[in-house]
Amino acid sequence: MQRRTLMKAALTAVSLIALQATSALAENPVLKIGFVGVTSGPAASWGISNQRSMETRAAWINETGGYEIGDTTYDIEIVSFDDQKDPKRAIAGMEKMAQEGIHYVVGPNVDDGAAAVRPVAESNGIMYFPYAFPKSLYEAPASNAVLGMVANYQSGPAIYKYLMEEKGVKTVAFIAANESDPLSQRDGGVAAATALGLEVVSDNVTYQVDTTDFTPVLTPVMRSRPDLLVLSGVSPANAPQLIRSARELGFQGVISTETAQDSGVLTEGAGDLANGFISVGGASTPELASPMMNEFVDRYTKMFGEYNDESNTKVYALEYILETLKADPTALTDVDAFQATMDTFEAPNPYMNGDATLRYVGMSSFGQKRQVAVPLVVNVYQDGKFETLFVAEVD
């Protein structure tokens, strides 16, 4: 009996705290933006870099008085849901967003989650910005997903082309983790490389994500002596180890990936061996970063103790949502209006020097504008930081 009373008391206490947590907010009307992604477990870093960049930006906006859309100034609240990289949870998360009356959600971070939430998002009028590449998400009849970054089938060809022209790369090898996302990205990369006339010398070596020693994995790849080694869809955790093993096995060529990486992780994990490693990043290199980008990095670092370079690309989704809403305030509750605005929307890119713009692209990949135009900044790692190799545009 006593035990039961105790549990009841505990439950009451817990729910009270929960209520307080949600009710304590400022005077401005609140605009809630959702995030559904993975912030715990093995892939936590993908979602956390997303969530934190959103929270940083939201706190910044709120601190400076809010965000004006139409005639109203809103405080921005980020509502995050941890889907544990489980598509079933991701659906629950999207339902939760619908429940909160949210129409704009960033995430999920992986293919299966992004595909699974589609029915919920479409039936509840939610626009969502996944970091997943399957084309079926963005092609008609799918309507509500907007690719939040540059897809590997877009960045890959640009990188390969550059390397063919500048570095004389002729042969390429691919290696991928034995999981849906990386394998799909590898297949896309192989197709792109073949189309460009590169010779693919190895494309079927895979590794388990929990591999601790990549030497045996890489040995057969190295034997095929490629000029370029592509780490398809590599997670930031695996990248330094793969680079290190490849270099220790005597690999002299170029190593590249089409996902975003973190320079700190590379420094710690591979040190100088990572020099020359090519990856895709946002506009954070000194020559490209606008003052606003630098302030963002500062605020992020202050708020969470340490910056994550993966956030360079992830800062954009929220900005796109807010800017588009500003361009058409009716879209606050009307997703159709948002979709209509997307076709013509254009605004200056605050995070990048020069005259880059925020706009929606994707006509050539998806047949409709369902992708944010993030500048395709190809970085190269050198002595602890990224340097810009070249900048390209996606249509």
Partner: protein
């Protein structure tokens, strides 16, 4: 009928009333529409967990239910998308296929006991995930997406089941479907456990040698039970595929297999309805703690540890005191 006491019957009536009328009413009143999906998930996961519980009943720790759920999801998806079957026919087909696989795999592995069986089923989950990644029929890494919603079924022009695609609110339809399936599952489970087969299972759980000395064909019953268990897994998985309208190799993985097992432990292995309650608490608990943001996992796991620390025989053991009924 079935020898229920009036107390049991009224309990069942209250339960049915609660899930079919009470829950929709409450959701309508509070406006928490998101709970429909959560509760639908609970119902479906509880179906798969019921299977795991059943293998516990013959004394086997089953960490392979994720494999059968994935098999079920793929079979249904392939039948619907590539062969063009109605979902409602593919659903039992998915269960049966999972059961068939269980028979084939069960023949060699059901001889194993204890942690050995647990481990081999854990490996099985990995094998099925990797197979799904490698096979062409499953579409490999790309998975199967854009699965159509269940279509209507009618016999002689009388609509038996409505067309989900034409519905305003599929949430409610899926909720009712899942609940009906769950009730059938647990009714089956209850009858099974309280019929002769159940008694034989219990005798095997306690002592396989003695059971075979009194003439119980233990290898046959093991297979039958494992097949039924996997049938439940297949059904649960297929239903999920239909709700998500997509299936990926990662739709069910080792973590799911482990969770199914934990649901049974948490609810209590000695109680037929244990896995249902365990699933509700484990799955719904996570959702409720959503407000705590980055401390969600910390609180969730702490509560879990406290429960098992103070109720090591499962939640339902509160009612029956220490030692429970078995």
């Amino acid at each position: 009928m079935f020898g229920f006491t009036s107390k049991q019957l009224s309990g069942v009536a209250i339960f049915l009333f609660a899930i079919f009328i009470g829950v929709p009413l409450l959701i309508g009143l509070t406006g928490r529409w998101d709970f429909y999906f959560t509760l639908t998930s609970v119902a479906l996961l509880a179906i798969a967990s019921a299977g795991v519980w059943l293998t516990f009943y013959i004394g086997r720790i089953n960490i392979g239910q994720g494999a059968f759920a994935l098999i079920g999801a793929y079979v249904s998806a392939i039948l619907v998308v590539k062969v063009g079957w109605s979902f409602w026919i593919s659903l039992p087909a998915a269960g049966l296929f999972a059961a068939l696989v269980a028979v084939l795999i069960g023949l060699p592995i059901l001889r194993l006991r204890g942690v050995y069986f647990a481990m081999i089923t854990l490996v099985l989950t990995q094998v099925v995930t990797l197979t799904a990644l490698a096979l062409p029929i499953t579409n490999g890494a790309k998975g199967i997406s854009n699965i159509p919603l269940p279509s209507g079924v009618s016999i002689f022009g009388i609509p038996l089941l409505p067309d989900f695609a034409g519905m305003e609110n599929t949430k409610l339809a899926f909720y009712y479907t899942a609940c009906i399936l769950m009730i059938i599952t647990y009714a089956t489970l209850y009858r099974l456990v309280n019929s002769r087969l159940g008694h034989l299972c219990r005798s095997m759980q306690q002592n396989e040698e003695l059971a075979s000395s009194i003439g119980v064909n233990i290898s046959y019953i093991r297979i039958v039970i494992f097949a039924i268990s996997s049938f439940f897994g297949g059904i649960g998985g297929a239903m999920f595929g239909s709700i998500a309208q997509s299936v990926y190799p990662s739709s069910f993985q080792v973590a799911d297999s482990v969770n199914f097992m934990l649901n049974c432990f948490l609810g209590g292995l000695g109680f037929v309805f244990g896995p249902m309650l365990g699933t509700l608490v484990l799955y719904f608990g996570w959702d409720l703690l959503f407000e705590f943001g980055k401390y969600q996992m910390l609180i969730y796991s702490t509560v879990l540890i406290l429960i098992i620390r103070f109720l090591p025989n499962g939640l339902l053991s509160i009612r029956f005191g220490k030692g429970g009924d078995k």
